[in-house]
């Protein structure tokens, strides 16, 4: 268990981080998935009393990661937005300030299904339908692509461990031969339970620390 874990993926060396991020040193790129910015704001607009503050925290977590790895590129694997942000939302005030602080980093994202709600919102991010990086194909949905190892998000994978009456549910990195999925980065995002006996390997994230999952 530790906050970072060195990992081999499709022949490349990567570093997993307990803040639910993956760093690819060869290309100096930090990857996260499913930030879902603006989710709490949408919930508030619809009458659910969810306090604000997650956007600020999530950006702060990103800042810490950027300070730690000092990457040239930050790429979000889709669902950067949860919903189209409306004026007056905290995120729209916070993001430009945050962006200015990290202006040296190239900020990019692949388009996720939620991002389509927010088409045309200008934040200084480069958008891609998908993107190739080393042996990897970066995309939102975890569909295999011939000749490349897909790194994706979308699923928000979590794993439930059960030993006798003790249950523990945690977000996971999910690695398979052709497709790997990152845990969701956003604080208010839920999870999709990996079915028992899913193929591949998992790394659990518990309280910011990483644990290799059972085979």
């Amino acid at each position: 268990m530790s906050r970072t874990l060195e990992w081999q993926l499709a022949g490349a060396d990567v570093v997993l981080h307990g803040e639910r991020a993956l760093f690819y040193p060869a290309e100096s790129t930090l990857l996260v998935a499913d930030t879902h910015f603006g989710k709490a704001a949408l919930m508030r607009r619809r009458g659910l009393a969810v306090p604000s503050g997650q956007s600020r925290d999530d950006l702060q977590r990103l800042s810490l990661l950027l300070d730690e790895f000092k990457p040239q590129r930050l790429i979000v694997l889709g669902d950067f937005f949860h919903h189209r942000p409306l004026s007056g939302e905290p995120f729209l005030d916070l993001f430009p300030i945050w962006r200015a602080r990290h202006r040296a980093v190239s900020m990019e994202a692949v388009v996720g299904n939620h991002d389509r709600h927010a088409a045309g919102v200008e934040l200084g991010i480069d958008w891609h339908e998908h993107l190739d990086l080393g042996p990897f194909r970066l995309r939102h949905e975890p569909e295999p692509v011939t000749g490349r190892h897909v790194l994706a998000g979308h699923l928000h994978p979590v794993l439930t461990l059960q030993v006798a009456a003790d249950r523990l549910r945690a977000p996971v990195f999910w690695f398979r031969d052709q497709v790997s999925v990152l845990p969701s980065f956003g604080a208010l995002t839920g999870g999709w339970d990996l079915p028992r006996k899913s193929p591949g390997q998992t790394v659990l994230v518990v309280e910011g620390e990483l644990f290799e999952g059972p085979d």
Binding site: M1, K39, A40, A41, L42, M43, R44, R45, R46, G47, L48, A49, V50, P51, S52, G53, Q54, D57, H82, H83, L86, G88, E89, P90, T160, L161, Q162, V163, A164, A165, D166, L168, A187, L188, T189, G190, G191, D193, P195, R196, K197, L204, V206, E207, E209, F211, E212, G213, P214, D215
Partner: protein
Amino acid sequence: MAAKPVAAKSAGDGLALIETWFAAQGWTPAPFQRQAWQAFRAGRSGLIHASTGSGKTLAAWLGPVSAALEKPARTGGLRVLWITPLRALASDTAGHLQQAVDSLGLDWAVETRTGDTTASVRARQRRKLPEALVTTPESLSVLLSYRNAEESFRHLDAVVVDEWHELLGNKRGVQLQLCLAWLRARQPKLSVWGLSATLGNLDEAMSVLLGEGAAPGERIAGAQSKPITIRGLCPANVERFPWAGHLGLSQLEGVLDYLGEGKTALLFTNTRSQAELWFEAIIKARLEWVTELGLHHGSIDRKVRRRIEEGLRQGDFRCVVCTSSLDLGVDFSPVDRVVQIGSPKGVARLMQRAGRSGHQPGAASEILCVPSHALELVEIAAVRRAWEAGRVEARRPLRLSLDVLVQHLVTLAAGPGFVPEQALAELRSTHAFAELDETLFNWCLVFITRGGPVLEHYPQFQRVVVQDGRYTVEDTGIARRHRLAIGTITSDAQIQVRFMKGGSLGSIEETFIARLKPGDVFLFSGRALELVKVRDLVAYVRLAKTKRHSVPRWYGGRLPLSSELADSVLAIFEEVQAGQYKDAEVAAIAPVLELQKQQSALPGRNRLLIERCTSREGHHLFIYPFAGRLAHEGLAALLAWRLGQIMPATFSLSVNDYGLELLTSTTFPEMTDADWHALLDPEDLLDHVLAALNAGELARRQFRDIARVSGLVFQGFPGRGKSDRQLQASSGLLYDTLKRYDPEHRLLAQASREVLEDQLEIQRLRSVLEHAAGQQLVLVSLERFSPLAFPLWVERQRNRISTEGWRERVQRMMDSLEKHAARKPGRHP
């Protein structure tokens, strides 16, 4: 009830008409029925308590009917509201009520309004309600959430709350209290009548129903309840009798013989999984009964359940295996046998079940109790003693359930709207919110209008808006989602179970299905089913060909032993300690009890037994307060924590209804009587329990229901479209979010309070400790586990609770899973 209608004579004497009608059927009203009718006509409210099948329904119904018979020509509209806790009962009840008025020649329509009511009927009822409506607390609340609510209830004369004892102690009861307060404020002459089974606190039950400051109500006792016989099935050979864990199946032969002698039996189990296992076992043993056996529990499809209920009424079944799903409701007169499997847990509960038999003329009620381990035989004798002495459990009403309160306020805002001063007065007229102070009330108003007191934390929030001092919901989307949420107070995330070829089997907890993969086989609805796939909250299955299967574990089977029953058990132990065996059931396990006496001692009401033992596993400490498993959980954690202050150690804990076990690898220090009393000191109980337990984690789980009821999360519904699904978030994440950004949030405090009061029964825990101060401590060192200790050891093999931190916990779980995988290659945990 094929009777000639008694023509509604001109404004005559309604009660006389009813007497004539009774006579025409060849019946005589029971004295309590007449008493109830007269009390109603005198404008009183009150509570009628009697066993099922004694005529409570007509006692409550014919009062209002007699008044209507005298003034039949009044304008239409709702006159009587009939509240039932189970929507499955609504249509039966409505049928009975309709039959009575038809037969009396009163031109009233009796309809139902529940979650099952179709959209077209709902729309019609929104325009105009029938004269009498049978509904649930949730559906009543939904009716208040429409703009025209005040108009709908303008002519209401009476509210009857059926099975009030089922609602009294829970949040649905609180919701109903709030609705009643609203109705009463608009209709000061409203009569409210409750129907209840026997309870330990009937006076309190009545005053909660009638509200604070109401005129004194009338408590009416029903006909003398018929005698009930409680008999334990004593095993032929007690030495070979299992200690625990076989769900009583070793007694199958005895049960089959008993069923064979009767015509129609109900076989009650404590959990749904136990019901599935018993159903399967009976079929295997008696193939010739296959068409005469039924299975009935809360997860079985409603249509199937209705068919079984109908069959029971017709006498088509030899035996129906069921859970608390058949505790309530109309009587099945052919039932002549009732069997209870496992601990009765409480006096009132067993009596309710026993009362399901013996409705044939001249018959008595009998219940056969089948113990699932030896010591439960003592519980059976103990129930009988307690019942004969009139000691029945009370159900304590809840207070200040803020989640229900904010839901109700939004309901009113979505409906006709409310003005705070008036609303506060109404709320304080309920028992649940009599002590609601202005600070708390204002917090609720802020919560529903601005999200929370820190405005900057809730930008763009709007749910309820204030216009000219009136609180209303303007956004139709918010009102619609709120109505959907009202109806789901009690439901958990459920997955439909369907055959591939069509045909629904019922619904099952999502958490169970999530652990299966396609191809896995499980036992459900009396069949071995193979999971094919899960899509959109539906699990598709087919009949399995293999025999190996798992049984779903449903939650909710953790009812603790009641203190009335526990006391009664201890009283019997005291007699045994003195060498007396007065009950056949207790005598049957004399060898076990004598062994306990010889190796150790028997606990009593004034003797707290503490046993110590060393085994290969480590050092064991067993304590037997007999306070029920919930209180024992808290106590075990507390003792482990306090011992941890004296000696650094990690403990494994195990509890059951009788006692608790602490296991550690470190030797326990030598302790004097004074040391023990210090360990069991009630001082600082709350602080120590909170420190001992991962109280935060427990509260986080408890928050799930609170978040749903208060409208903090929206669950979404299958087929309701993407836009709603985008709003879903887990209550756990929300709990963390609130804890961090709005730590003073009142609903967080409520979650902690509910954990202490409901999950840990802190009051009961406190009384164990206070009692211990004056108790004689019996300290025994054991060579090997005593008969009382053994079930705790078994329990620990099934469950694992320990005092380790989360890091060790994750590591240990991983190791355990790895070991398991290594031992059985190719098989996953």
